[in-house]
Symmetry: D2
Subunit: 311 residues, 4 copies
Amino acid sequence: MEFVKDLKWKEGMDVNELVSSLGKVGFQSVELKKAQENIIKMKKDGAKIYLTFTSNMVTSGLRGFFAQLIKLGIPDVIVTTVGGMEEDIMKAYGEEFVIGDFQANDVELYEKGVNRVGNLFIRNESYSKFEDLVSPIIKGIYSKKKRVTPSEIFKEIGLGLKDEDSILYQAAKNNVPIFCPAITDGAFGFHLFMFQQNNKDFIVDVVKDFQNILFSTSQDEKKGLISLGGSISKHHAILACLLNGGLDYAVYMTTARHTSGSMSGATTNEAKSWGKVKDDSDAITVIGDVSINFPLVMISVLEELKKDEII
Amino acid sequence: MEFVKDLKWKEGMDVNELVSSLGKVGFQSVELKKAQENIIKMKKDGAKIYLTFTSNMVTSGLRGFFAQLIKLGIPDVIVTTVGGMEEDIMKAYGEEFVIGDFQANDVELYEKGVNRVGNLFIRNESYSKFEDLVSPIIKGIYSKKKRVTPSEIFKEIGLGLKDEDSILYQAAKNNVPIFCPAITDGAFGFHLFMFQQNNKDFIVDVVKDFQNILFSTSQDEKKGLISLGGSISKHHAILACLLNGGLDYAVYMTTARHTSGSMSGATTNEAKSWGKVKDDSDAITVIGDVSINFPLVMISVLEELKKDEII
Amino acid sequence: MEFVKDLKWKEGMDVNELVSSLGKVGFQSVELKKAQENIIKMKKDGAKIYLTFTSNMVTSGLRGFFAQLIKLGIPDVIVTTVGGMEEDIMKAYGEEFVIGDFQANDVELYEKGVNRVGNLFIRNESYSKFEDLVSPIIKGIYSKKKRVTPSEIFKEIGLGLKDEDSILYQAAKNNVPIFCPAITDGAFGFHLFMFQQNNKDFIVDVVKDFQNILFSTSQDEKKGLISLGGSISKHHAILACLLNGGLDYAVYMTTARHTSGSMSGATTNEAKSWGKVKDDSDAITVIGDVSINFPLVMISVLEELKKDEII
Amino acid sequence: MEFVKDLKWKEGMDVNELVSSLGKVGFQSVELKKAQENIIKMKKDGAKIYLTFTSNMVTSGLRGFFAQLIKLGIPDVIVTTVGGMEEDIMKAYGEEFVIGDFQANDVELYEKGVNRVGNLFIRNESYSKFEDLVSPIIKGIYSKKKRVTPSEIFKEIGLGLKDEDSILYQAAKNNVPIFCPAITDGAFGFHLFMFQQNNKDFIVDVVKDFQNILFSTSQDEKKGLISLGGSISKHHAILACLLNGGLDYAVYMTTARHTSGSMSGATTNEAKSWGKVKDDSDAITVIGDVSINFPLVMISVLEELKKDEII
């Protein structure tokens, strides 16, 4: 039996100490500490780790943190949506996103050519530049291979980037496949379509990538999932692991509620009914903004893994 | 200037009267009434209507309601995720889903072969039967055409079903295309992969379906969106309309919050910065469970359209 | 075992039919139907019914509906916050609240003397008029009795109002006590303080009202709670019933989450650990906006009670 | 114009560095950093600082952190609910609260005499001991004064405690008044009632405490509010400051949504319509669990104030 312990500030307190203290505070802080323990456990247990996130997290400054985590060998497989990959490319080419305001006047923003994603702003010109970047990339891929999977496309792109902070670059370099079951759902889809107009034999083979994610692990392997936000990224990683006997560890971080039966809000508890996760201590849901909770958990994980010379 | 008006029960009150009264109550009830007005407006204005929903809504009894709406000519285009289409097929073949409990013991459910989706239960055998159903379907499609799009697949399946309450059936019959940008993200993906193993020239062409959704409307056409829940369905419909000059009307119903910058929680307000929606009165977000709010809004819409002999 | 049933629109569908259908849809619609059944059960079982709500619901058009419910004999005891009672008085004297906008410019509103409560607006003059109304009322009460409880004050005020749609009026007329454990937390508190400045022997005895709510029921009596929103109103009703052996029935309607351990978000499930509610079927939490869900549930309850000649 | 900056882990990263980095990440992390800046600003500007929190936060390990903040001179006035003060007393006398589980079986807990507050457990015996503690305290207060305010009661209790980690002790010692507009809404209310049964001239004067909170500041003084969670604590502090010309700074931390028009979910934006807060940069709402966000913000504030030798 563990007891609540009064939190105390000590001068110069580091993140790892704070996360330790939070474990005795209560409510989501307790779940956050359990998430940290669970991720350490999955890493030490040699589990294959799936990391999923949504596009808006790549819009945010988590993008470079994801890249760093890949470099440090934390995730083995990534599942995400195409919007984030587009923005990773933009950023790799120097585009900057603006810190704005949730309450901005959206009509005014539109007139200025600014697109709002929560309290972040993306300028139209970032998309125009993306257009110039992506066309030669698709052409280059096609020149080598006429039938490609999304994960091959992303690997190819990553190899061509020269940005240490890029998810695509680090993933390509470290052989971490990036799966994206809805590759056409973004500006990228538009450019693929444009290219296919003139190159009818160009095929993006999503079915083949289902095989690739399926074979990214096996029944025998331990499997862990770190799922940030909801969407098909979360669903797809769960599905791939389920078809391989189910997850051994799962950490979900989300703001969505379970009360509507949506995938985004589905807790690790519900996952147990799907045979995905087996034990209470290995299935943790932390409710709250990923932009705060994920760095907090993960920095603390990294400190512990460093201490134990695992990274 | 409109004023708050005290709600009063009258014996035998019908849904349409209630929705009218709710328009003067306050908070989300006011938004709900605005959503009703907005949908009537888009219909009367002859807008092309995009309806998007998530899989869990097809798990629920909204499934037959969606089918009815298609039959009545409300949506012109549907965008959804593959899980829902799988369940529509299961239901068309007589599978029944159980009304369960959010607090069910998930480990016990697993041992009984029951999968939980919120407070609904799906039995494993429903999936096994799906396996038996889907293989001949894919085979049949392949025998006609080796390179198909998701929307073609769904049309083909719909034509083969014999269930008035099926979304796929009604959509096929009424020429309403169903777009599904992540067709492999479900049991269906697994069966496509199995089939492709032995039929390497079988291609699911998602890029071509991007063209199809893009050409499903045009710059000149008025466009309206009814988006239920979030996910790529919502994003994909917005994207397609945006590339055609933007939406004229939008109703979003969701439980997600806008505070995390996610697509699921993005409000119709944010949509204005993307040039998607132009006017306040034409962009309504209703926060709450779709299983309650959508029938309430839509029944009231249908009553009004019936009165005006539009349906 | 109950099964999901496809929802279908029928022309002229009444609210009661819709609520019946919703019971087979899934997610919160199922909980909503259970709430309806639970309230009917508590009424038929002769339970003493506690109704709690927050001030913003009185700002809204639910105010007249609450009054109607009191008139129809639904609640036996009311627990609320003082802000709502202030607004009930304003409305009884003809003040009108405006249907506004969640996205209004708040600085502009301030400059126009308009106060925003969600998407409802209250003009400053409504408060000024309240000042003129409340002073003679307090004076009148003091002239009869120098030491009064909040529930006595509200009864006294109610007796003086002449508005069928007033909560205070109907409560006074039908001997439904209104408890308000924080009577000073509003404009009313300010006026009580002003009056006490010149009348030091004027005492508002909140401790005595604790006795009154405690004696409003007994161990032997069946007890039911309909709690709308959170706040001390919810807590206070639970507490009073707990000290009398616990609740037999409970319906909570809220938008708050249980994940932060707050009273507002506490579910009826948690209530079971407090010995408050005993059985699953008698403890229902419906997540969503009360401005929609409460009328829906309650109109359906009234229809059923009318059918059975209970009201 | 500020830009999104990729977050990077550095070994041994301290909390203050993390909070700085979060300011460039996006979504709630940006708001969290603004909250830190706002609190530093209110402190440096010599504003009178109101701190409000709900009972469940005192159940949690934030309790000792609140005590530390009082000791360090951060808040000048506290507004809270009585449940928290009861638990502060229990803890001061050595009671321990258990770290439990959100998914615990509530019926089993009840049978074991355990009460659940989110994922924290309070044993029945803690309440029994409280009974033994509180009776002589009330008796002692009564022997000195027959008509007392809640804030006087809390001061009296605090002076008698000998626990550095107690909110009541630190508040009493540092002349920080604790206001509690609903003092009877808890076990404390029950004991006050029991005592009054035999001592009819014992009066708890809540109206007088309205004067006290009103006079706790003035029109001339700068005023800042740190409001954690919702409830009457939040409302009461806003009200007191509003009657003194309005707040100059406000930081709200909550999980509640603004979409239902509730006080708990009301944002600092809405506060501007009430003349409470004047400028955008001085009114920050952080959405998320206080058990995580408050320590993060506040530790960073303390580090900065320490650096500047303000604490």
